[in-house]
Amino acid sequence: MLSVRDLTVSTGPDTAPTDIVSNVSFDVGKGEILGLVGESGCGKSLTSLAIMGLLPQPGPRIRAGHVMLAGTEVTRLQPWERVDAGQGRIAMIFQEPMTSLNPVRRIGDQIAEAVAVSEGISGAAAMARARELIELVRIPDAALQLSAYPHQLSGGMRQRVMIAIALACRPQILIADEPTTALDVTIQIQILGLLRDLCNRFEMSILFITHDMGVIAQLTDRVVVMYAGRIVETAAVDALFEHPGHHYTCALMDCMPARNLGARRLPTIPGQAPPPGSFAASCAFAPRCTAARHACRVSLPPRLRLSEEHETLCAFPLEVGSRK
């Protein structure tokens, strides 16, 4: 459905660019939820903005690579040009719905506006579709909530409204950038359930961006792990949690409190993540890696294929079974 090839996003002058996302490639299949996981500053949000054609201008730009939507190249098209090319069925939701919603307009009007733009209907017909959408995202008392303002809704309900707006264009693919990070866990799990349900019902594909390995495990089908602007591992979710290949993936899982409930000390990753682009010619994780050798510090690690659909950017990956 969505295919990203060698996507490189850079800042700085063309003569001496700094790649903050480099050579990112992945596919999202029909009806699949692909998780994109990494810590702050690893380039995961920039990747999603580049896919959407929403990179801030002036700012970072796509220096190389391709973004294909349902087989059509959309890399350098502006959002409206994509719609003209028949590739407008992609939508995005963000972490904080309050900044995406207009605080002085009613929920119903905001959803109907999105309906009007994507379906070319207006007035009562658009409002009827808005009501359908609001029921689809399971907001209780749909009729009543259509006339509510964003501030009258809870955080979870606002995120549902954002999903309803996203669904207005009947998206084939939804990009969700940390949509539950600002929510409480009992609300988060409901939003995750809703996304999975929509995926099942409409064969919608989702690119789900998060820093939370727990969310990755419980929601996604396949996972892409990013570190300092590069993809360091790609795998099916079961394979990733069973035997991670990259030392960073493994360390990230190990330091999760949920995995260590009741343990007195948490394993940690020493040091901190470098800014993307600072390790153009060596492994960016090497300074923090317990298994790093000389080769890791002087050359870019190879992309090794551990099994069908399991790749890692590491010269000395963890062996299957080496981790309990």
Binding site: R138, Q218, A251, R259, R264
Partner: protein, 321 residues
């Protein structure tokens, strides 16, 4: 229980007056909370946004003045203390805040920020002692003493939170109230800061009230956990008891909602468990009844009292247990 109680909170109530669409409401953020903190213990106070956990933390050292109740620190009443007595108490009970970006003055050097409590209370006898105290405190939180001359913008989030912790331990306090100290940090850095808190607790004999929405983090660091919902404690027990055998329906829901790093427990479809009721229109009876699958008639009319349950040391507020 042989360890002495260091801090005792009884029936703490705190409310705010809020104006919404022209009407005035009284929001009971904390509605009768009692607990005690033992010497050397880490008590986790966990709950979701708006449950009153932060208000409890702030009320204890009177950053917010509670409406009623009592706070007793080593035999002296905190809520009625004034002037010098209150200042002295605040040297002994210190806070660590969530957002190390917001809680450090961007125009003061790290050293000045760390030494602030000491400066205000004239703890230092001269510049040399001040400098060595700053250096020792920074070292204790795992920062190089040279950080003293740097400014907050030069530091990463994890380093700033270490500074936040350094500020709180400088006057050698007995109690630390840490309000979401790791929530703003990435997981790998979060683990480092949690380990630091555990080390300090051991080295300095600190007692800690650890406030967080994240049950996994609280479970990691606490000896005992109190779960709050809508301004009240609904369940309280030793950490393993809560995690392995939660009894209150809300605690159960909370634990099952924490994302587990286990793909075999995938979400397969819609899950609808409702939302907390409005703070402005608090239901009578148990605040969780509206979302509770077990609720019976009584739950909607009568507020359940927090009472001992079976084993020693477990408290729960539920009619059905």
């Amino acid at each position: 229980m042989s360890t002495p109680t260091i801090l005792e909170i009884r029936d703490l109530k705190s409310s705010f007056s809020v104006r919404r669409s022209g009407r005035k409401y009284r929001v009971n953020a904390v509605d009768g909370v009692s607990f005690s903190l033992n010497q050397g213990e880490v008590l986790g106070l966990v709950g979701e946004s708006g449950c009153g956990k932060t208000t409890v933390g702030r009320s204890i050292i009177r950053l917010l003045e509670p409406d009623s109740g009592s706070v007793n620190f080593k035999g002296s009443a905190v809520l009625t203390a004034g002037g010098a007595a209150l200042r002295a108490l605040r040297m002994n009970i210190r806070m660590v805040f969530q957002d190390p970006y917001a809680s450090l003055n961007p125009r003061r050097s790290i050293g000045d920020s760390v030494a602030e409590a000491g400066d205000i209370n004239r703890l230092f006898r001269g510049r040399a002692e001040r400098a060595s105290s700053i250096a020792a405190t920074l070292t204790a939180v795992g920062l190089d003493p040279s950080f003293a001359t740097r400014y907050p913008h030069e530091l990463s989030g994890g380093q700033r939170q270490r500074v936040g912790i350094a500020r709180s331990i400088l006057p050698a306090p007995d109690v630390i109230i840490a309000d979401e100290p790791v929530s703003a940090l990435d997981v790998s850095v979060q683990a480092q800061v949690l380990n630091l808190l555990m080390d300090l607790r051991e080295q300095l004999g600190l007692s800690i009230i650890f406030i967080s929405h994240d049950l996994a983090v609280v479970g990691q660091i606490s000896d005992r956990i109190s779960v709050m919902y809508m301004g009240r404690i609904v369940e309280s027990a030793a950490v393993r008891t809560i995690l392995d055998d939660p009894r209150h329906p809300y605690t159960r829901a909370l634990i099952s909602a924490v994302p587990k790093p286990d793909p075999s427990r995938r979400i397969t479809g819609a899950i609808e468990t409702g939302e907390p009721p409005s703070q402005f229109n608090r239901p009578t009876g148990c605040a969780y009844a509206g979302r509770c699958s077990m609720a019976v008639g009584r739950c909607f009319v009568e507020v359940p009292r927090l009472r001992p349950l079976g084993q020693e040391d477990r408290l729960a507020a539920c009619h059905l247990l």
